[in-house]
Symmetry: C2
Subunit: 385 residues, 2 copies
């Protein structure tokens, strides 16, 4: 497959956007990415979104968005893989350019989650889990992750407070990200006394939902050689699945799909964990940040909290994660998240990450997007050339 | 892009499957297609589905289905383009094989629509239209199509009864299709006295919803040369969009996305309408059958009913359509329909279409899948080599 580069990025603030509809949000991010790329058209549009049907009474987003931004007629489709929809949309777009059928593709992740009534959003998020064997038993999505976290604490002997460092890092990094949902520094004391959501997951373990959109423009890398523009290529791209229901896995504390997709992406890029200078991981809950770090080879099993406690996950650390706030503080508009992650890795590789810029001109970054409690995982590795 | 062939097909009966869940339906079709292909594994799975979120409380179908059929770990994703989801899933799978990243792909279309309460399904189907400018005004999906049909009758001077031939053909062809939803021969008199749904669309203009799944296995065509197996290649594949809201189009009676995608697919396959020996079109409503025939060059504008009245759309006619019953009588499990269409074209090209086999060993067939009232349209041309 031919080599492909990201030439444009765009994003909206993640917030409660009462005044902006789904198409307006998607359009803002897409037009920003096109402007950044210096393009007016693309051959195809891939939209990552999970919940537009139940929450916005709108499907067929491909036609919705192309028409709204003045690209009526352009091929477009929606890609869904629960909270992994954004990463999956990039991968589908990548394969389209890789096939040679398209010479430019825009990828948009969009979600509008807050304009709903009562428990509608919680019920909609539960569709990421197994409806027959998990949700129907009364397990909300956060409750599933709470069971996983409790098991982790039991197996490896950590205390809940040992996870504080993940959330503290994310909140600190979000302070200088103007697009982040939360701008609030937190302390270990704040973390320890946060309101319980589903024991042991409290409010400061959990990422906030939100409305937002992020977008990318990708083209064959050869189009950019000699153009003077930075060439940030997608050096690795892989996706893998696991059982939807967590109880069906041999080991509920091992993200097999994270390990599989990371292994493939590392091989494609000819790199290993030690080469990754920034890692935008899927910290929907602090426990998921830990499991991702372990599955991707950044920590031994059961030892990821040590990495955080030793301050190795900050922008100056060995494995900078959530450098723009992560899901925890930048926010988690579910189908858009995977695209925000890529946008943020590109910012780091361009040296445009402001106060949380990883030092030393990082050349290689990774993003990992998770759909369900580890059921669909998409890993991308980007390289600045 | 390398040439790609369909080597396996599978389908379930379309019915009210009270005893079968979404995953069971998808699994049955997928395992049948794998058996037909003589394969046990694929590199990727692309699932066409529109309404699993609102109707089945289940998203993340990629992980759901791969695990259920014993392919845990395999890359998988859901593709959504309203009622065009099945065709869009095939196109995404085709690009994946075309890119060289995957050497075999399964495409599954699945929808389970009848296990719901009250008007839930009607509301869910309305998400194919423009939520802000159509659905929110109280227009159901059938009502939008009724406005289009009324305009057509007004502009071109046809009477409602002139559309009877489309439905009569579909119902007649479904009689010998064991997987069809309806097995009921109808007459012009039946059509004329059918209960009104949204004037002028009556019950015999409209396709029935249903539960069902269909599946394909595709591989590079070179894998089959000299194997003795029939080589049915995908000679053309294209997708295009139009405005979501019908009132935003310059001409509500012209399916621009059908014309665009058909033009591209014809060019790729180096054929024209006269070469197409079987055309599985998207007759969700009889008016859509007429508009598709016109946009794809089989009839002059405003003249498609003449083709039907002259008995040119039956299996022995000039343009056989709905040869296994079409959406009208085979049934329309929305996200699965586009895959059923391809399965049926393959049956025709293999000479396995039974009583409604198009005579003379047809070599070229076309399928056109429509999402929304013409908003997303995917056209595929298949060739028997």
């Amino acid at each position: 497959m031919r080599e492909i580069a990201v030439i444009g990025i765009g994003q909206t603030v993640i917030a409660e956007h009462w005044e902006k509809s789904l198409r307006v949000l998607a359009g803002e991010a897409l037009l920003a990415a096109l402007a950044d790329a210096g393009r007016e058209r693309v051959d195809g549009l891939f939209i990552g979104n999970m919940l537009s049907g139940p929450l916005n009474h709108q499907e067929n987003l491909g036609a919705l968005v192309t028409d709204w931004v003045g690209l009526r007629g352009t091929e477009a489709v929606k890609i869904e893989a629960a909270c992994g929809s954004g990463g999956a949309a990039l991968r589908a777009g990548l394969l389209a350019v890789g096939s040679g059928e398209m010479d430019s593709v825009a990828v948009v992740g969009v979600e509008k989650m807050t304009d709903t009534v009562g428990h509608q959003t919680t019920a909609a998020l539960a569709t990421a889990a197994d409806a027959d064997w998990e949700s129907a038993q009364g397990l909300s999505f956060v409750a599933i992750n709470a069971l996983v976290m409790r098991r982790y604490l039991h197996e490896y002997g950590w205390k809940h407070t040992d996870f504080a460092a993940f959330s503290i890092n994310a909140h600190a990094n979000a302070l200088s990200n103007p697009n982040a949902r939360l701008h609030e520094r937190i302390s270990t004391a704040d973390y320890n006394r946060a309101r319980m959501v589903a024991d042991p997951i409290n409010l400061l373990d959990a990422s906030p939902i939100g409305d937002g959109a992020a977008a990318l423009v990708i083209v064959p890398a050869d189009d950019l050689r000699g153009s003077g523009r930075p060439v940030i290529t997608i050096a690795g791209s892989a996706s893998a699945t696991d059982s939807l229901a967590v109880h069906d896995r041999r080991d509920p504390l091992w993200l097999a799909a994270a390990a599989d997709s990371a292994r493939k992406a590392y091989a494609q890029a000819s790199v290993g964990p030690a080469d990754i200078r920034v890692f935008e991981l899927h910290d929907a809950f602090s426990i998921m940040a830990a499991l991702s770090l372990e599955a991707c080879g950044f920590a031994e099993r059961g030892q990821a909290p040590r990495l955080a406690l030793d301050e190795q996950i900050g922008p100056q650390g060995r494995v900078p994660v959530a450098t723009r706030g992560g899901l925890k503080a930048r926010g988690h508009p579910v189908g858009a998240t995977g695209v925000y992650q890529i946008v943020e890795v590109v910012q780091q590789l361009r040296g445009e990450a402001g106060d949380t810029q990883v030092p030393g001109e990082p050349k290689i970054g990774m993003a990992q997007n998770i759909g369900g409690s580890g059921a669909t995982i998409i890993t991308h590795i980007l390289r600045a050339n």
